[in-house]
């Protein structure tokens, strides 16, 4: 049984296997370093960062639901310079590729943060979050109005030579429109999907369970939605797709790859079990080896549909 070739490329970013972690579920890297061998991962994707430090939402920020959870963290973070100072040095001792998730309140914000990170050699790619359901400023609209969407992607594109991954919003009538727009604007990849706008209410207090009122649904509950979106997008574009949404097992990851994803991200699963991402990598490799599948490319998008 030969070892299958798990390598995946997103523009100049080389991942030795197709598994990264989903932004916001793995902190900035150090948090899980005691439990997870970071260099086993195909890449680390860190929590969304904007130009300036941001406080995010009030608490409660998460709530568990059937087969999933809501979050409305609201993108608190140290800002671009804070991230560079506080977290980039940590990566010197690791070889794992680094994807930084960026966001902004304005188009100008997006391009500034992209520009700041463009100089940082340790950063392998930027993931542009135009789909955070939890910040009032623009965020949501950038992901669901295709003109605004293009404006943001264009603005970021001109400021960075790094591979650009555009993270699509799931709550649109036709994901293909946004996938194509991202490709046309010169993105190297899209990631699908962000958490789905959702809500839960405490019937006793009649207050939302999240301080932000609404939040994003993630976890196994949304997996079938994500697989569908990946499958649709894969037939509309030629750039790679990073699939995510409820991936817990190697089988889940394979389902996304067969649907059309080139790589996948493990998100909520890390909360349930921090070893999830590594288990997924090992399982994908073992499954491919057992079936004699030589490479991810051989598997990608092979769904008979």
């Amino acid at each position: 049984m030969n070892k299958p070739d798990l390598k995946v490329r997103i523009g100049s970013l080389e991942m030795k296997n197709p598994v990264t972690v989903a932004s916001g579920t793995f902190g900035y890297g150090p948090e899980y370093a005691g439990l997870v061998d970071l260099d086993r991962l195909g890449a680390i994707t860190v929590k969304g960062i904007c130009t300036e430090p941001h406080v995010g939402n009030a608490t409660p920020r998460t709530f568990e639901t059937a087969g999933g959870m809501l979050n409305a963290i609201g993108l608190p973070g140290p800002g671009a310079q804070g991230f560079i100072k506080k977290y980039l040095p940590f990566y010197e001792k690791y070889s794992v590729p680094l994807i930084v998730n960026i966001w902004g309140k304005t188009v100008e914000d997006y391009s500034r943060v992209a520009e700041i990170f463009n100089d940082q050699a340790r950063i392998g790619a930027l993931e542009v979050n135009v789909s955070c359901p939890n910040v009032k400023e623009g965020g949501a609209l950038y992901g669901t109005d295709v003109n605004l969407f293009r404006t943001v992607v264009d603005a970021v594109r001109v400021r960075t030579q790094k591979p650009l991954i555009v993270k699509l919003a799931p709550n649109v009538a036709d994901i293909k429109v946004f996938a194509r727009a991202a490709q046309e604007c010169g993105a190297e990849a899209v990631s699908i999907m962000n958490s789905y706008p959702a809500m839960a209410i405490d019937i006793e207090t009649r207050r939302p369970q999240l301080a932000n009122r609404t939040g994003g649904l993630s976890g196994p509950a949304i997996k079938p939605i994500a697989v569908k979106l990946v499958w649709e997008a894969a037939r509309a574009i030629t750039i790679p797709i990073i699939g995510m949404g409820g991936i817990y097992t190697p089988e889940d990851a394979l389902e996304f790859i067969i649907a059309g994803a080139s790589a996948v991200a493990v998100g909520t699963a890390s909360f349930t079990d921090p070893s999830s991402a590594v288990r997924v990598i090992e399982g994908v490799e073992a499954w491919m080896a057992a079936k004699g599948i030589g490479s991810i490319a051989e598997l990608r998008g092979t769904v008979q549909a």
Partner: protein, 275 residues
């Protein structure tokens, strides 16, 4: 911090609504510091994506135990685990209680599972002091004998008066603090020494937020140090998700601090309470 597949060594009703769950944890057990917690994957609760945090009650190489109360679906599912069943743990997590300062006299204040969370602290502190335990009713006041056996003086308050004095534990604490303050004042001649004795009190508290805040306020008002173990909903438990934050005072204002990583134990001075 380790992830460990432990297994149930003992599981039984402990007292009132509380159960004791003892788990084999050769990796995690020996590392536990007082006030730290473990993040538990509840067996058989497959639809739940989140773990549940529990303070470590006792821990050594033979295993670690928690005392928990059934309050929702996770803890309800936990009641069904059987001897020998595997339970996945992450721990020890968080920054627990510091040991008491040099020459300090420790005072413990606890409500509910706080008694369990303070037991290791009580056991490991070099000096024993007074422990104030509160609860709705006598069944909620845990481990009194065990604290006494460690050499602590235990003072109890229950809302219904079924054990100890009737009322909030903070009322009992207030009275005692006032006694200490004035007792010292009336005994001594000058002011310096008495003040020093009173100022030697150091508070360690775990319990409902309202109680913690009351303890913190008293401590700050009287210039005492108080360490409060905060209970906040958690997702990751390791500092990654920013679910469990509280406001921590800074020079300029405040910043978020994560209860799971920077806490759960904070100095009362640091906490910016929200209403």
């Amino acid at each position: 911090m380790k992830q460990e597949n432990s297994c149930v060594l003992e599981h039984r009703l402990y007292q009132g609504d509380y159960r004791l769950l003892k788990l084999s944890a050769p990796l995690i057990g020996p590392l536990v510091q007082p006030g730290q917690f473990v993040h538990v994957k509840i067996p058989r609760l497959e639809q739940a994506v989140l773990r549940r945090p529990f303070s470590v009650f006792k821990a050594d190489a033979s295993g670690l135990s928690i005392l928990y109360k059934t309050v929702g679906k996770g803890t309800a599912a936990l009641t069904t685990v059987a001897d020998g069943e595997p339970v996945n743990l992450i721990g020890p997590l968080g920054t627990g209680f510091p040991t008491a300062g040099n020459g300090k006299t420790p005072v413990l204040v606890a409500g509910g599972y706080g008694n369990a969370a303070l037991y290791l602290q009580a056991a490991r502190l070099p000096v024993k002091g007074v422990a104030f335990f509160g609860g709705r009713t006598s069944g909620d006041v845990l481990c009194v004998d065990e604290f006494e056996a460690l050499g602590w003086e235990v003072r109890i308050a229950t809302d219904d008066g079924s054990l100890g004095r009737k009322g909030f534990v903070t009322a009992a604490l207030d009275e005692w603090l006032a006694e200490q303050e004035s007792g010292v004042r009336s005994q001594g001649a000058g002011g310096g020494e008495q003040n020093e004795t009173f100022q030697s009190l150091e508070l360690f508290a775990c319990g409902p937020n309202a109680m913690l805040r009351a303890v913190g306020d008293r401590a700050l008002a009287k210039g005492l140090t108080a360490w409060l173990s905060m209970d906040r909903n958690m997702a990751c438990g390791v500092g990654a998700c920013l679910t469990c934050v509280i406001k921590r005072k800074t020079a300029g204002g405040w910043e978020w601090a994560r209860c799971c990583k920077d806490g759960p134990v904070f100095n009362a001075e640091e906490i910016l309470w929200e209403d």
